[in-house]
């Protein structure tokens, strides 16, 4: 006999610890002259990302299916997406300041995952056995990761009154919105082939729409006179709440039991 679920958990814990370490290393690194600490935090985040990649591959091989089925699994995948977006932005724009945000949300996600772990490899029900499963989920999670980064940058822009953070926040939000649209559309196509309808007014679908409308609202509002700067950053921060609710808040809805999408 062998462990059907938990074998992965010590490694998940290690990944959480690396992210936690990155966050801690950033605390002294926040001082202007503490470049070493900031670099250490980045190195820890890179290590966490590498371990995260390994875990995802291992879980995929082990489960014999994409590891995106349960809340636990997405809580391992989401830090990977955030890590990827963060590291790309660090490489492109030297946005080292994103490291504590990425490490923080990753540590939080992993902590939640370990608090509510999968004890077993959940088998894939027929509805999820589709070629759209991976592109739909990956697109959505990359979007959620970019939107988290835009949220973090919007907070930085508000806190530091920095125009350049606004620019980066906007760039990340637009990328996230494009991915959000693509993910939504893929979900529609998948839904048509799985259930017969490309839109079913399911609570999770509706919240995906609310999220999409919220970012659409941001994209249009910031074109209004006087909204381009700080006010649109406030909108970005608010819009991310819709992301969080769509991802985790579905169980709170009175209509949740009518949904086919809610994570168990």
């Amino acid at each position: 006999m062998f462990d059907a679920g938990l074998a992965i958990h010590p490694w998940v814990g290690a990944m959480g610890a690396l992210n936690g370490g990155a966050l801690l290393a950033w605390l002294p690194g926040a001082r202007k002259d503490a470049v070493g600490w900031r670099r250490a935090a980045l190195v820890l985040l890179v290590l966490a990302f590498a371990l995260n990649t390994t875990l995802l591959v291992a879980r995929w091989v082990d489960a014999g299916r994409p590891p995106f089925k349960t809340l636990f699994e997405t809580m391992i995948f989401y830090p990977w997406c955030v890590g990827l977006v963060t590291l790309v932005l660090v490489a492109m724009h030297r946005l080292l300041v994103l490291v504590p945000f990425a490490a923080g949300i990753s540590a939080f996600g992993i902590g939640y995952a370990l608090y509510r772990p999968d004890v077993d490899t959940v088998l894939l029900p027929p509805a999820l056995q589709s070629g759209w499963f991976v592109p739909h989920v990956v697109t959505y999670f990359m979007s959620y990761a970019a939107l988290f980064v835009s949220f973090a940058l919007a907070i930085l822009a508000l806190a530091k009154r920095s125009r350049s953070f606004e620019t980066y926040a906007h760039g990340a939000a637009i990328f996230g919105l494009c991915a959000l649209s693509a993910g939504l559309v893929m979900g529609g196509v998948w839904g048509k082939f799985a259930w017969g309808d490309w839109w079913g007014w399911d609570p999770k679908e509706n919240w995906a729409l609310v999220t999409w409308l919220a970012y659409m609202l941001y994209a249009h509002l910031r074109l209004m006179e006087g909204w381009a700067g700080r006010r649109s950053m406030v909108v970005l921060v608010g819009a991310f709440c819709a992301v969080v609710f769509t991802y985790l808040g579905m169980n709170m809805l009175p209509t949740a039991e009518q949904s086919m999408h809610v994570y168990q």
Partner: protein, 675 residues
């Protein structure tokens, strides 16, 4: 609606960086007369929201008005129609007079914001208020007046309400006019045209689907054919002919087969047992740490567990004669042991009974014996004394306890489906006695005693101070109407009818014409009971485990899938964990229907329909969508006709392409133009 005289906005780049500037929308960096012509109306977010709100109000009231107009009092007077005509004319007049203002408003940026915001709020409300629920649920949740409000505003089916559809239509109108106004055919505006037009295309596709589409259901059993579907979309015509026929040729439910697990349960925060870990029964028999320092390994696993009797040649020659033969399609031999009082013989396929005796003298005694009356049940106590018991009786035990015999089964088996014990046959293959030990002031202690496993209780977790009881079943050996008796001494088999020998043959020829194979006599044999599996189907698995704490002594236990039996749960040494053998819940891997399409009696197409793999034929899509575990040849199909689907998918592609164009292509075009 409310003209304002606000000055034209001054153009200002939203951000210092060229990247962000490039993201800016057409509303600011295109030479748009809107921003410089003071004669043109300049809507604000407030005025736009007011317009959307006014439209919403009209749409909410409209169905109520319509209902009021069609009351019997007004019906036939023509008054209803007059009012509607007047209202429509007034509305048309207002629209005509204010057409410039209206056009400027609904193609404006503030209007798009008001529209997006309204839809956002509406969608949110649609998830917060119960949708299409039972009337009682609304009353329970919102009370009487709350329910009236919910119904009056059509919030109970919000997404199909007049007002929601009206708002979506208004958005489609706004987006369409916007495309015209923004001259989206110019290169720099392609993205805007695609993104905004794409949404319109999606909505048009949805409208086409709504008008020309159909949704229904087909229920089929294997071999059945349907040429029409039963509509479930509320259409007046309930049955819709397909124009061809579909036949369900085959339906299969495929299950995941690795579903048996050993689950480790521990008490959760609130005290109830929770699954903490799950162990797969794999090929490996390595020690596995299950927590609390405990190591467990699987020694053997029997998918379809049974206890089998086998004969072994007695090593020291002190055994008794034995007979082995294989019946019918069995893969294992059945066995008989001479002189075993518990042996009532074997049933042969021709209805006769086969027995084994030592000598022909014994056979004669059998023939001469009077007819017996079944079995004698004996319970042997620890001190060697014996109780003759009958089901239903109560007998004294030492220390003031009493023994109540509840049931005696000749061939004990446990039926997992009904979770109850029963007798698999009348043959005493696995005799068992269900008893209750009664002590004053204590709950009765119920247990099963197995004649063939006298030490069963001590193996399976009964407390050490429990009374050791041994069950002995003695079967009266009486001859029936048709018997075969093998005599070990001469190796001959006598066939008896009504107590008279009618035929005598050597063992090798004794069963000619019967499906009996490999009959052989063992001069000196002993009987052993060994665990085995009846088949490779995981129907009633039993797993044998070894467990130990650290380097401590190894304990061997068997664990059964039946948790109501004593061996169904293994308690671990930490006193806080138990191991349970169980099957995973949601284990359907796939539903597969083989559908054949027939046109004019000729089979023209065949397809395997699975979830995610519908069959498309003749404008219809057939979805695998229902099954009934208790009715395995049934398969249910959702049937959809959606002529708008290609339009919708085109709209999807246009919208995403447009957004990507706006975000990543247009900035380059503008950057080149400005440089």
């Amino acid at each position: 609606m409310t003209p304002t005289t606000a000055p034209a906005p001054v153009r200002r780049m939203g951000s210092a960086s060229p990247a962000a500037a490039a993201h800016d929308d057409a509303h600011r960096d295109s030479p748009n007369p809107h921003f410089s012509d003071p004669r043109v109306h300049h809507p604000t977010i407030a005025s736009s929201t007011l317009l959307v709100g006014a439209v919403w109000g009209l749409l909410v009231v409209a169905p109520h008005l319509q209902r009021a107009m069609s009351t019997p009092a007004l019906d036939g007077t023509g008054l209803g129609w007059t009012v509607i005509a007047v209202a429509a004319a007034l509305l048309a007049l207002v629209v005509f007079v204010a057409r410039r203002v209206l056009f400027a408003t609904i193609t404006s940026l503030p209007f798009s914001i008001a529209m997006l915001g309204s839809l956002l709020v509406a969608t949110m409300v649609g998830t917060l208020v119960l949708q299409n629920a039972e009337p009682a649920q609304y009353l329970a949740r919102y009370g009487e007046s709350g329910t009236r409000v919910v119904r009056g505003l059509q919030l109970d089916d919000l997404f199909h309400s007049t007002w929601f559809r009206g708002l979506v239509a208004l958005m489609a109108l706004s987006l369409s006019l916007l495309c015209v106004r923004n001259k989206v055919w110019r290169t720099a505006m392609w993205g805007h045209g695609l993104a905004h037009g794409g949404v319109v295309v999606i909505l048009i596709g949805g409208l086409i689907g709504g008008i020309g589409g159909a949704k229904g259901f087909i229920d089929l059993h294997e071999g059945q054919t349907a040429s029409s579907m039963v509509r479930t979309d509320g259409a007046a015509e309930r049955v819709l002919p397909l124009g061809f026929s579909v036949t369900l040729e085959e339906f299969d439910v495929d299950h995941y087969d690795d579903a048996w697990r050993l689950f480790l349960y521990q008490p959760g925060d609130s005290g109830e047992w929770q699954v903490k870990r799950a162990f797969q029964l794999g090929e490996t028999d390595d020690w596995t740490a299950v927590g609390g320092g405990e190591l467990v390994r699987v020694v053997a696993a029997w998918p379809d567990y049974e206890l089998r009797r086998e004969l072994r040649v007695s090593a020291d020659g002190t055994g008794r004669p034995g007979l082995e033969l294989t019946l019918g399609a069995d893969s294992r031999p059945s066995v008989l042991l001479a002189g075993a009082s518990g042996d009532a013989g074997l049933s042969l396929p021709d209805g006769s009974r086969l027995r084994l005796v030592d000598t022909s003298d014994e056979l004669q005694r059998l023939i001469a014996a009077p007819a017996g009356d079944g079995a004698r049940h004996v319970v042997r106590l620890a001190d060697g004394s014996e109780l003759d018991v009958e089901p239903g009786g109560t007998y004294p035990l030492p220390q003031g306890a009493r023994l109540h015999v509840m049931d005696a089964l000749p061939d004990f088996t446990y039926d997992i489906a009904s979770k109850s014990a029963r007798s698999a046959s009348d043959e005493p293959r696995n005799p068992a006695l269900e008893v209750a030990i009664l002590r004053d002031g204590q709950d009765p202690e119920t247990r099963w005693l197995f004649a063939k496993m006298p030490d069963y209780g001590s193996q399976h977790g009964q407390a050490a101070d429990a009374l050791p009881l041994v069950y002995v079943r003695e079967n009266a050996l009486t001859l029936g109407a048709h018997e075969r008796v093998a005599v070990a001494a001469d190796g001959l088999v006598r066939e008896l009818r009504d107590g008279r020998v009618v035929d005598t043959r050597p063992l090798a020829e004794a069963f000619d014409g019967l499906p009996v194979r490999d009959a052989r006599l063992l001069p000196s044999a002993v009987e052993v009971t060994v665990p085995g599996t009846r088949s490779e189907r995981w129907d009633r698995p039993v797993v044998e485990l070894e467990h130990r704490v650290g380097g401590g002594p190894v304990q061997r236990v068997s664990i059964s899938a039946d948790h109501t039996r004593p061996e169904g749960v293994v308690e671990l040494a930490d006193g806080n964990s138990v191991l349970v053998l169980d099957k995973r819940g949601d284990d359907v891997k796939s539903f597969t229907s083989r559908l054949a399409v027939t046109v004019d009696g000729e089979k023209v197409h065949e397809a395997l329909v699975r979830v995610n793999e519908p069959l498309t034929w003749g404008g219809f899509m057939f979805y695998q969508s229902n099954y009934r575990p208790e009715d395995p040849t049934y398969s249910g199909f959702l049937v959809m006709r959606d002529p708008g689907l290609p339009v919708v998918f085109t709209g999807f592609a246009l919208m995403v392409a447009g957004m990507l164009f706006i975000a990543y292509v247009r900035p380059r075009i503008l950057a080149r133009r400005y440089s």
